[in-house]
């Protein structure tokens, strides 16, 4: 079942980018299932890189509500709403099920997933510049 057939909100890429910026570059993210973003940026990547890629895309997003019984039907949400809409797994990784608003109705969407393990690994192994 596609996102638009489930309880969902609308979100702009700039709002999602703003929320990612607020998380800081200590947080790393991966995208699972979206060819557009995976073609634009090497993933997993820090918040800032993904935010920059998102700002290049001016297509509205659909965000599935984690509550299946929600009455959400396409209302707009902002960066400040995303903390409460994130799904958190038992390792503390946050995720969102998203889709592009212009995608065909059959589109199942894609996942924005936090990668805390990579963030931890990167903070201990990064060099300031790598030619």
């Amino acid at each position: 079942m596609s996102i638009r057939q489930r309880a969902h909100y609308r979100l702009t890429t700039s709002e999602l980018a703003q929320w990612l910026d607020q998380q800081g570059d200590d947080c790393w993210w991966s995208i699972d299932g979206d060819p557009l973003l995976t073609g634009l940026v090497s993933l997993p990547c820090p918040s800032g890189e993904l935010a920059e890629a998102l700002r290049q895309i001016r297509i509205p997003l659909l965000l599935q509500d984690k509550d299946n019984n929600s009455q959400a039907a396409g209302q707009s949400v902002l960066a400040e709403d995303l903390d409460r809409l994130a799904v958190t797994d038992n390792q503390g990784n946050r995720s969102f099920l998203l889709g592009w608003a212009h995608a065909p109705a059959s589109d199942l969407g894609w996942l924005l997933v936090e990668d805390r393990e990579t963030a931890q690994s990167s903070s201990s192994s990064s060099s300031p510049t790598s030619p």
Binding site: S30, I31, D32, G33, P35, T38, G39, L40, V41, S42, L43, P44, D89, N90, Q91, N93, S95, V113, D115, E117, T118, S121, S125, S130, P131
Partner: protein, 288 residues
């Protein structure tokens, strides 16, 4: 009761696998995007297993054993995606140069007639020439790109994997060494299912300058895959940008010698999307 013999049924069943294929993703026309998509998909497989198995009631030993195999497969897949990236980038270079040069630069990809014939249906001349050879050796890859991207006098100092600190980009010879080790690990997984043979151990020992035991089964850890992916991502980005720039320089040189060869703005407009980055030829800038 013994199981019935598979016999000739196997021939049909195995042949049927060829038909079980899907369309290429749209980004397959852009080598760097194609590479990023595949390498990210490989990494996401691990995240997917984490998300879904973390709730499951599983036996730890079986999990560890299966994940060791998955990790090996992912390392292989990352290397395969990188090899494909190299040949796709080389194919673009061939396509944009082949009809504009009379020198022998393409001899570096010399093929037997039967090999070319088998690839005659490939989309482009570049693909026909580049897809049938392997791109798994840093020196061979260096030689091919250096010749394809040489100047009109046949000179070139372009190195995909600089071997010396003095070759450009300076002080990146560590990439050559790292890539060479990675190709060897790929070989061990692809051809011996991960068993480090005596000869593998000898080569690896010389590459990493440390003792390597054999026979041993290689078991890449999660962090090994993370490091491999990050190294290949950064290396692919660097190669993509440098080849695009070098190819533009080659084309500009050809244009200066014969300004009826092509229209620089049109050529730049064709190249920029293929490399997913701005390209300038003879002052004409195009963005992807």
């Amino acid at each position: 009761m013994p199981r019935p013999a598979f016999n000739t049924l196997a021939e049909d069943r195995i042949a049927a696998i060829v038909g079980h294929a899907s369309d290429l993703p749209a980004e397959a026309e852009i080598p760097i995007a194609h590479f990023r998509r595949t390498s990210t998909d490989s990494w996401n497989l691990l995240l997917y297993l984490d998300r879904n198995l973390s709730h499951a009631n599983i036996y730890g030993t079986a999990y560890d054993r299966h994940m060791a195999r998955v990790n090996k497969m992912i390392l292989l897949s990352l290397c395969a995606a990188f090899e494909r990236f190299l040949k796709e980038v080389a194919a673009i270079c061939v396509d944009h140069l082949a009809s504009r040069v009379l020198d022998n630069r393409l001899d570096t990809l010399a093929q037997k007639g039967s090999t070319i014939a088998a690839h005659f249906d490939a989309h482009t001349l570049g693909r026909a020439m580049c897809e049938s050879v392997t791109w798994l050796d840093c020196d061979e890859v260096n030689d091919r790109f250096r010749k394809i991207l040489s100047d009109v006098a046949g000179n070139s100092n372009f190195y995909v994997f600089p071997k010396l600190a003095t070759q450009e980009p300076h002080r990146t010879e560590w990439r050559y060494r790292t890539m060479r080790t990675l190709w060897q690990l790929r070989h061990t997984i692809a051809h011996n299912d991960g068993v480090i043979t005596k000869s593998d151990a000898l080569k690896l020992r010389l590459m990493i300058k440390a003792p390597v035991q054999s026979p041993r089964m290689i078991c890449p850890a999660r962090d090994d895959l993370r490091s491999t992916k990050r190294f290949l991502d950064e290396t692919a980005d660097s190669i993509n940008a440098r080849v695009a720039t070098r190819l533009a320089v080659c084309l500009e040189e050809l244009y200066r010698a014969d300004n009826n060869l092509f229209v620089p703005a049109d050529e730049a407009a064709l190249l920029a999307p293929k490399f997913s980055q701005p390209v300038t030829i003879a002052g004409a800038l195009a963005n992807p």
